[in-house]
């Protein structure tokens, strides 16, 4: 098991390096560059060149990359061009806010989604399953911004007005107020994510239920309850972990759109802001942070999987 973990760790490290390279390359294919952004369109060529030299933009690409990676690793995350603040501070704050949202959505999804998916797989083909499947179809097919706006319309509109339409309030100012600002964005995220998780849990469990060893259990005289709890679920848990890790990816994609709809000050909104303003230092770090979170989450999932599956643990 330890050997497996080490190998995965080495793999992850390599991927993180590649991720940083991709981020860097994607952005620096830019026609213009940071200097042009700062000085504007009408800057003189000399002024541009001076600033470029100051910012180190005239060095070869590889050197710029290495220098950037070096500063990231030592904790110097640069300064946002558009916000004029240290990137680390901004990212830290926004990341925390997004984490609240993500956590809220994940909790609901795990507590509600996995049992729902299990139920659907057990009642396969019957009315309950069909209803659940139909609902999930709709859930994955409606874009988050549509769901979000619909929720906004109904629950935050002038008629009901239960929730604020946008913005954010610090936890320190009061739990109720803070929670009220979280509900709608969290709900929107949850709906989309729930649909994904229910579908995948359902198909994972349905697959397990057709396995030969389930038949063995039946022929041993095991009751359906015992089959599900002792045999099926444990084996279905394995792919579920993979599903959850994968869903973190959906989550992070969805968060971008949802935060925009509700003007929620999180990482997603920050990324959009950076893209719109071509704020290279900010965008680079945001992308790196988001991708790293995903990579690490998958790594944790791999380890959990290996720990649970005796075929991997004891090989």
């Amino acid at each position: 098991m330890a050997r497996y973990a080490l190998r995965r760790l080495a793999s992850i490290a390599l991927i993180l390096v590649l991720v940083s390279a991709i981020v860097f390359v994607a952005i620096h294919v830019l026609p213009g560059n940071a200097a042009t952004l700062i000085l504007g369109e009408y800057a003189t060529p000399e002024a541009l060149r001076t600033l470029e030299r100051e910012m180190g933009l005239d060095r070869p690409l590889l050197v710029q990359y290495a220098s950037w990676v070096g500063s990231v690793v030592t904790g110097d995350w640069g300064v946002s061009l558009a916000m004029k603040q240290p990137v680390a501070t901004v990212v830290g704050y926004r990341l925390r806010n997004s984490a609240f949202l993500a956590l809220a959505a994940l909790i609901v999804v795990v507590v509600v989604g996995i049992p729902l998916g299990t139920l659907a797989a057990l009642r396969r083909g019957r009315p309950l399953d069909l209803a659940i499947v139909t609902a999930t179809y709709v859930g994955i097919s409606i874009p988050e911004f549509v769901t979000g706006l619909l929720l906004l319309l109904v629950l935050a509109g002038p008629s009901l007005g239960w929730f604020p339409t946008s913005g954010y309030v610090e936890l320190a100012s009061g739990v109720t107020a803070w929670a009220r600002h979280l509900v709608l964005p969290a709900m929107t995220l949850t709906i989309a994510l729930l649909a994904h998780v229910v579908r995948q849990t359902r198909s994972g469990l349905a697959d397990v239920l057709t396995a030969p060893y389930i038949r063995t259990a039946r022929l041993k005289g095991a009751s359906p309850r015992r089959i599900v709890l002792r045999h099926a679920l444990r084996n279905a848990l394995l792919p579920t972990i993979t599903v959850l890790a994968l869903d973190l990816g959906y989550l992070m994609g969805g968060i971008v759109v949802v935060e925009e709809v509700f003007a929620y000050p999180g990482m997603g909104r920050l990324i959009i802001y950076a893209v719109q303003n071509r704020d290279v230092p900010l965008l680079q770090m945001c992308a790196l942070v988001v991708a790293s979170v995903y990579v690490l989450a998958n790594f944790a999932a791999d380890l959990a999987y290996a720990w649970l599956d005796p075929r991997i643990r004891y090989s």
Binding site: S11, L14, I15, L18, V19, A21, I22, V23, A26, I27, H28, V29, L30, Y137, V138, I140, S141, I142, P143, E144, F145, V146, L149, L150, L152, L153, G157, P158, G249, Y250, M252, G253, V256, V257, E260, V261, I271, I272, A274, V275, Q276, R278, L283, A287, V290, A291, Y294, V295, N298
Partner: protein, 267 residues
């Protein structure tokens, strides 16, 4: 006579409808999409404007009919690009194996470490916001996923006995890859591609909603919803009409893809 899965039938029917309407838009739309009627802004459905008007008094029905075109074009184009990029890479990596496969898959894994929207955003940042760039961005973001699937299928087939027989015959590697392996990789690729169209349309609409895809004054579902946002409490129709169209189209593609997978998997 094997029965048609209902998903295939229903999905296919809706798709046919959507495609037909989008194609026929220039002939059946009652108003030009850019024509403004300032006295009839944000009206609900009525006799003149069958589905209501938006904040500039433009007819929602016409705009929605035309709005499918960039959405569909983006979705189909992006997936096509993803296939063009992903299939050769996956096929080669899976067939050649060894160091090349390791290297290519590491890069693919790294690209898959980004939520696909984020990858697309990075590319848009580099190139600037437009429909074409959105297509490129989503297409490139789709490539790695396709490559991965093609690679798995290729790996499985590489040791198949008919492939080994071909190699024992002295067939050239290119023939084995494209003449023997590829035709067997095609069915899962088709299914995968069809399933991805729905998500590509969703991604394209999301980009347009964020202002980074289709640009005004074009008619596009995602863009229309973006514009409808400020006025949603004044009139829900500019949100509901394109939103419903978008949802229906994506559901249809997903249904069709699932039905196709059942159908092809059963043979």
């Amino acid at each position: 006579m094997t029965s048609l899965p209902p998903a295939l039938g229903v999905g296919g029917a809706i798709l046919a409808l959507v495609l037909a309407l989008s194609f026929a838009a220039p002939w059946i739309a009652p108003f030009p999409t850019t024509e403004q009627h300032m006295l009839e802004r944000l009206k609900p459905p009525g006799a003149r404007f069958l589905l209501g008007t938006d904040q500039y008094g433009r007819d929602l029905l016409s705009r929605t009919l035309f709005g499918g075109r960039p959405a569909l074009g983006l979705g189909l184009g992006a997936v096509a690009l993803g296939l063009v990029l992903g299939v050769p890479i996956g096929l080669t990596a899976g067939y050649v194996g060894g160091r090349l496969d390791d290297l290519v898959m590491r890069v693919v894994d790294a690209m898959l470490a980004f939520p696909s929207l984020l990858l697309a955003l990075l590319i848009i940042t580099a190139l600037g916001a437009s429909t074409g760039h959105a297509l490129l961005a989503i297409g490139v973001a789709n490539g790695p996923g396709v490559a991965r699937i093609v690679r798995s299928a290729t790996l499985a087939l590489r040791e198949a006995e008919f492939v080994l027989a071909a190699r024992a015959r002295g067939e050239r590697h290119l023939y084995v890859m494209f003449g023997e392996i590829f035709p067997n990789v095609l069915p899962p690729v088709i299914v995968e591609g069809t399933l991805r169209i729905g998500f590509a349309i969703l991604a394209g609409a999301s980009l347009s909603f964020l202002g980074l895809g289709v640009q005004p004054p074009a008619a596009d579902w995602g863009l229309m919803i973006r514009e409808a946002r400020q006025y949603v409490f004044l009139s829900p129709w500019p949100l509901l009409v394109p939103g419903t169209a978008l949802a229906f189209t994506i559901v249809a593609f997903n249904l069709f893809g699932d039905g196709l997978r059942d159908r092809l998997g059963a043979t």
